[in-house]
């Protein structure tokens, strides 16, 4: 008897659950993803706390509110990269062959892997926001929290796609630095640590065309001011565009695994 049906519906949650399983059964695995952006945020706030007096910060009194969103995107980037590393491990150990042998469409397999990153990133994001609130960052409101959650999930997904592209290309965990550097640079070349007005012209030029900068603005808006449609829609368009582009390459990589 062979199963004639095409039933991919359960695959995405099943694969996401497998990835989340690791966090539930080895809780320590989540610690680096929480700790790194938190320490980064606290350290930067302590060192550069007074830069808010410079023009361009528009009277913002807490630098931590400015860099908290950077930490959120870094957390999302790290989570996505970790998904790529896990995928490389699965390739090395043969688990990935098991997935490829299933009669499941390749984009569905990728969606399952990426969905786990989108869900996992909510753990460092929640921790980071809690730390920020404890240190006096203003509560941005539930609407902004929802926007933040969706945007970091998009960034984590895009970063996971990048990780998948690298994992499928090099097929080894030794390519992990390449997976991490992608999201690190994407966040770095934005108005991450100072407003656009204070950036060097070359960095400003890059930030202007960097889609992550628009996502950062969307994530940041509620922490430093109020939520506006003008900052929200470009964030979603840029994030979704970036995700679509990277997902296309990742799917292409998956369909080439048998070449």
């Amino acid at each position: 008897m062979s199963n004639e049906r095409t039933n991919d519906r359960g695959v995405v949650p099943a694969l996401a659950r497998r990835a989340l399983n690791e966090l539930l059964r080895v809780p320590g695995a989540a610690v680096p993803g929480i700790l790194a952006p938190t320490i980064f945020m606290l350290g930067l706030s302590a060192v550069f706390g007074n830069v808010t007096a410079l023009p361009g910060f528009d009277g913002l009194d807490k630098y931590m509110a400015f860099v908290l969103p950077v930490g959120l995107l870094q957390g999302a980037g790290f989570t996505g990269a970790a998904t790529g590393v896990n995928m490389a491990r699965d390739i090395e150990q043969g688990w990935f062959d098991r997935l490829l042998l299933a009669p499941v469409r390749r984009p569905v397999l990728l969606a399952g892997i990426v969905a786990s990153a989108a869900l996992r990133t909510l753990i460092p994001a929640t921790a980071l926001i809690c730390v920020g609130l404890l240190f006096g960052v203003k509560f941005p409101g539930f609407l902004d929290l929802l926007i933040v959650a969706l945007l970091v999930m998009i960034v984590a997904s895009a970063s996971a796609c990048w990780g998948a592209i690298i994992a499928l290309r090099f097929r080894t965990q030794q390519a992990a630095p390449l997976m991490q550097i992608g999201s690190f640079m994407a966040v770095l070349f934005t108005a991450a640590y100072a407003p656009m007005a204070l950036l060097q012209p070359w960095l400003k030029a890059i930030a202007t065309v960097n889609p992550v900068n628009y996502v950062l603005t969307g994530v940041r808006q509620g922490f430093i001011g109020s939520v506006s449609w003008a900052d929200t829609w470009p964030a979603f368009v840029a994030g979704a565009g970036l995700l679509a582009l990277l997902a296309t390459f990742a799917i292409r990589g998956m369909s080439r695994t048998s070449d």
């Binding site: 062979s2 199963n3 049906r5 497998r18 399983n21 699965d90 098991r98 997935l99 048998s258």
Partner: protein, 320 residues
């Protein structure tokens, strides 16, 4: 209709390395086909092409009625695969893994749960079903891997070295299961480095060397092709080897005796047995300490066809 049919199957890797150089294989429905070859012969590449993990660069292959290159998804629905390394998530339990595999095969959760209980019972893992796989022994992992490959009741099963590295008890458990699959009519493509395994289980055997099939047939036919059986004799003290050779001449040609033996005769008629030899020696008044009939083994066939011994052959024999 053949369950597996490969015609001129080729695979050339980047850099021009030809791992498989145009092989033809035909496996009938319900047949167990043993696929043997030394490391680097093209065995794994062939299996990976047949299970759709690797696209052929030449020729074609049809598995379970579908072309592996053009209808890969249809092939995947109909085959079960247990690859060389049992790739199992050590953090998941046996039951969770079978249910996940069922989901990947398009089964709904309730079906997956039902099937997992059935299969865990079948492979003798029901008592360990809710333990994490990281704590399983090698034999348990192999049995679980086999259960996962069977979750959707495939018509063709690919087993890539299913018993390599296992202790004899675990190996026999896998053999029993394969035997059961044979009775159920499942076609099994069995890659192995244990000749005894191929000899006992396979209906037919194919030997690959340097990317080409160099021998194919039933184990008995291959062994017969490799040469007639011979007898080896150890004489009691005082009996002459030359006299023994003379008295055994009606049975066949003398050949160099193996270590510890005095006389060896290649039998001209394979129906001739030890009894005939004993009778002839007795009639000549020669006293025999030991006499044995040595039939060609698959190892001899392998040696003849590939020019080398199979890596795991000795290991398997030693472990018995």
């Amino acid at each position: 209709m053949a369950a597996i049919k490969a015609s001129g199957l080729e695979r050339t890797f980047k850099g021009g390395i030809k791992a498989v150089r145009g092989i033809d294989i035909e496996v009938a429905e319900g047949e167990i086909y043993g696929f043997l070859g030394p490391n680097g012969a093209g065995k794994t590449t062939t299996v990976r092409m047949l299970v759709t993990l690797l696209k052929p660069t030449g020729g074609n292959a049809v598995v379970a009625g579908f072309d592996v290159a053009h209808d890969a998804s249809q092939v995947r629905r109909r085959i079960g695969v247990a690859l060389q390394e049992a790739a199992l998530d050590p953090l998941m339990t046996g039951r969770e893994l079978i249910i996940l595999q069922a989901t990947l095969q398009g089964m709904i959760k309730a079906e997956g749960r039902e099937r997992s209980a059935e299969l865990l019972e079948r492979v003798g893992l029901i008592n360990a079903s809710d333990r994490r796989v990281g704590g399983y022994s090698g034999g348990m992992k192999r049995r679980l891997d086999l259960a996962m490959a069977l979750v959707h009741s495939p018509s063709v099963l690919f087993l890539d070295e299913p018993t390599t590295g296992l202790d004899p008890t675990s190996r026999f458990a896998i053999w029993d299961e394969v035997d059961r699959l044979r009775r159920e009519g499942t076609t099994v493509f069995l890659t192995t480095q244990y000749l005894e395994e191929a000899d006992q289980m396979a209906d037919r055997v194919g030997i690959i060397a340097d990317g080409l099939i160099v021998a194919e047939g039933t184990p008995e036919a291959l062994k017969a092709e490799s040469g007639a059986p011979h007898i080896e004799v150890v004489l009691d003290q005082g009996s002459s080897a030359e006299a023994a050779e003379r008295s055994l001449a009606p049975l066949g040609e003398p050949i160099p005796a193996g270590e510890g033996h005095d006389v060896a005769i290649r039998l001209s008629d394979s129906a001739t047995g030890v009894a005939d030899a004993v009778r002839l020696l007795d009639e000549s008044g020669l006293s025999v300490a030991e006499i044995e009939l040595v039939r060609p083994s698959l190892d001899d066939v392998f040696m003849e066809k590939t020019g080398r011994r199979l890596e795991g052959a000795a290991t398997a024999a030693d472990e018995q």
